[in-house]
């Protein structure tokens, strides 16, 4: 799919609320981005100066939901350091400078798409996200609903109150597998066993996962077992989001004479090679 042309926009903040115990929910009015963004693409959000605090670099944030008819996008973020702390101070009615949509998103491989003539049974996709990582895969859950794929979403988090996207999945008709740290269900052998039990008989046609850690390794393992493609969304520190600053080297070992992939343009979504 050709990538949409990025634009910058001075986007009014329509909603800025707390969700769960630790996350912030932003709804931004930005018609062009809402209309063009692909699943898994992201924004660079410039944090406005406030009370003497100056944040120089924009912060990359996944586009959690796209509402092209309303001309809005949703972002969910956690407060990590100076930038997100200052971002949390922005009030409804203020504007945020955003650039997007950016990067390579998730794309269902042809094999996972319902054929033109209609497949015999619905194609299925497994999405896996933890914390705000759920946001990176939510666009694909939207796409699945639109395209008629059956989506199963593993939503992982510290506790039930901090699971992101449950309402979104319900609205989009996706099956949710909620797992949390406090009851141990998010831990690796438990989750792996649960997914194998759920899918060994009928594996999904694609696995989409956000995060560089154990979840990505689990997805790669299951993908290899089931023989299905895996796509993983990665993070890197970023300055431009457009491919010119070379700041967002993917955390992979490379030939010292050849630059490795850049997360902002070659990713954030990469094909997982086990």
């Amino acid at each position: 799919m050709p990538r949409p042309e990025p634009v910058w926009d001075d986007a009014p903040v329509l909603v800025h609320d707390i969700v769960g115990e630790r996350y912030h929910w932003l709804v931004l009015a930005t018609r062009t981005i809402a209309a063009t963004a692909l699943a898994g693409q992201f924004l660079m959000i410039t944090v406005p100066p406030k009370g003497g605090e100056r944040i120089l670099l924009p912060r990359p944030m996944a586009i959690h939901r796209r509402h092209p008819e309303q001309g809005t996008v949703e972002v969910v973020y956690g407060v990590a350091g100076r930038g997100t702390t200052a971002l949390a101070d922005v009030a409804v009615g203020e504007r945020l400078l955003v650039t997007g949509p950016l990067g390579r998103g998730f794309e269902f491989p042809d094999a996972a798409l319902p054929t033109a003539t209609g497949a015999q049974q619905a194609r299925t996709a497994l999405m896996i996200g933890r914390g705000v990582g759920v946001c990176a895969v939510m666009g694909s859950v939207e796409d699945a609903a639109r395209l008629g794929l059956k989506a199963t979403v593993v939503v992982s988090g510290r506790s039930r109150a901090n699971l992101i996207g449950l309402a979104d999945c319900a609205e989009l008709g996706a099956e949710v597998i909620p797992v949390t740290d406090d009851d141990g269900s998010s831990r690796m052998p438990a989750l792996a066993a649960r997914l194998r039990a759920r899918f060994d008989a009928g594996p999904p046609d694609v696995i989409l996962v956000c995060g560089a850690g154990v979840l990505a390794r689990l997805a790669a393992e299951l993908g290899a077992e089931w023989g299905v493609p895996v796509q993983v969304s990665l993070e890197a520190h970023m300055a431009c989001g457009l491919g010119y600053c070379h700041g967002c080297a993917a955390p992979v070992a490379t030939d010292p004479a050849v630059e490795g992939p850049l997360v902002c343009v070659d990713g954030p979504v990469f094909d997982a090679a086990l």
């Binding site: 400078l97 650039t99 004479a257």
Partner: protein, 325 residues
């Protein structure tokens, strides 16, 4: 959710792309760097621009663009993390990945040419003798060369080439033999005497100096105290370095006759005028473009507007109004 539908493009953005008034466009902001005349004195800092930024802003309003530093042979750059932001500013240890001169010419230069703006090619080297070769390999591409001498001299235990006036002389002298195009020497901050470095460049035949590169720094993670950058050391940039670089531009401008291009923490037209007031002829914008992609274009337009409101016929008249001495 039932939210009021906003406009397709917000007013701020629409206004930005509206045509400028003819009076503004008529202001003469042109400056000369050696034999080259630029339509205005505003350009990006090396490494803080690429043709992809041209997708977001009317890049033809700039005086020139500057490429990321090109080395003679390919380099992969530093391991992640390559950049971070701390209170003091941005710190980057990108490490100048490069496709080499041939790779630049084949894969990158065409995109610069397509921008319709004069392209200044930034050139790097691991030893003073290497710059001339890279310029030769660039085969006349670009309108000028910016010699980034803030590179460790691998022949001299790694102190920057540009911290040694003799090495600067060698870089410029040998490169001068390869091209008649303007040569700009971009100096590092950590030098004993910026005046001596600028003078060395001028004496050896440089057409301008650019003052300065980012300032080497070591950012640590809070709590863990682990180095925040894969390369441990990176370059500090952004508004926090401005008062340090202002002094260097002031000293360099007093030392040499050739133009001084100021670079360091410029975000607004007032920052640019600060540098002009201490002797700069042109300015480069680095870090500011990340947070505000249109920062350079805004500065160009604000210079036009200031000329009109201050009754200055051209940029030199405007600068004269603001000379610190």
């Amino acid at each position: 959710m039932n939210l009021a539908p906003p406009d397709a493009t917000t007013d701020a953005r629409r206004a930005f792309f509206d045509a400028r008034p003819a009076s503004a466009a008529a202001v003469d902001l042109s400056v000369r760097i050696g034999g080259l005349t630029l339509a205005n004195p505003v350009m990006p800092a090396s490494g803080c621009f690429g043709p992809s930024l041209g997708r977001l802003i009317p890049v033809t309003e700039l005086g020139a663009v500057v490429t990321k530093t090109v080395f003679g042979t390919p380099r992969g750059g530093n391991p992640a993390h390559r950049l971070t932001e701390i209170r003091a500013g941005m710190v980057n240890s990108v490490g100048i990945p490069s496709r080499g001169a041939a790779g630049y010419l084949a894969q990158q230069h065409p995109h610069y040419q397509a921008l319709g703006v004069p392209t200044i090619i930034s050139v790097g080297g691991h030893r003073p003798g290497e710059y001339a070769r890279v310029v030769r390999d660039l085969a006349g591409s670009g309108v000028a060369y910016e010699l980034n001498v803030s590179c460790p001299n691998l022949d001299r235990h790694g102190a920057d080439i540009g911290s040694d006036p003799d090495a600067i002389r060698e870089v410029v002298r040998t490169t001068r033999l390869e091209t008649d195009k303007p040569l700009i020497v971009k100096l590092p901050v950590l030098v004993s005497s910026i005046a001596d470095c600028a003078l060395a460049a001028e004496e050896a035949g440089a057409d301008a100096v650019c003052v300065a590169n980012s300032i080497p720094a070591l950012p640590l993670e809070r709590y863990t105290r682990a180095p925040a950058l894969g390369n441990v050391i990176g370059g500090l940039s952004g508004p926090g370095i401005r008062p340090i670089v202002l002094r260097l531009v002031w000293l360099a401008s007093r030392a040499v006759q050739i133009p001084v291009i100021a670079c360091g923490g410029i975000e607004t037209v007032d920052d640019a005028l600060d540098y002009f007031s201490v002797g700069a002829t042109a300015i480069q914008v680095g870090t500011a473009s990340f947070g505000r992609p249109f920062a350079m274009v805004e500065i160009v337009r604000a210079l036009q507007d200031r000329c009109l409101t201050d009754g200055a016929g051209d940029i030199n008249a405007l600068i004269e109004l603001w000379r610190a001495e």
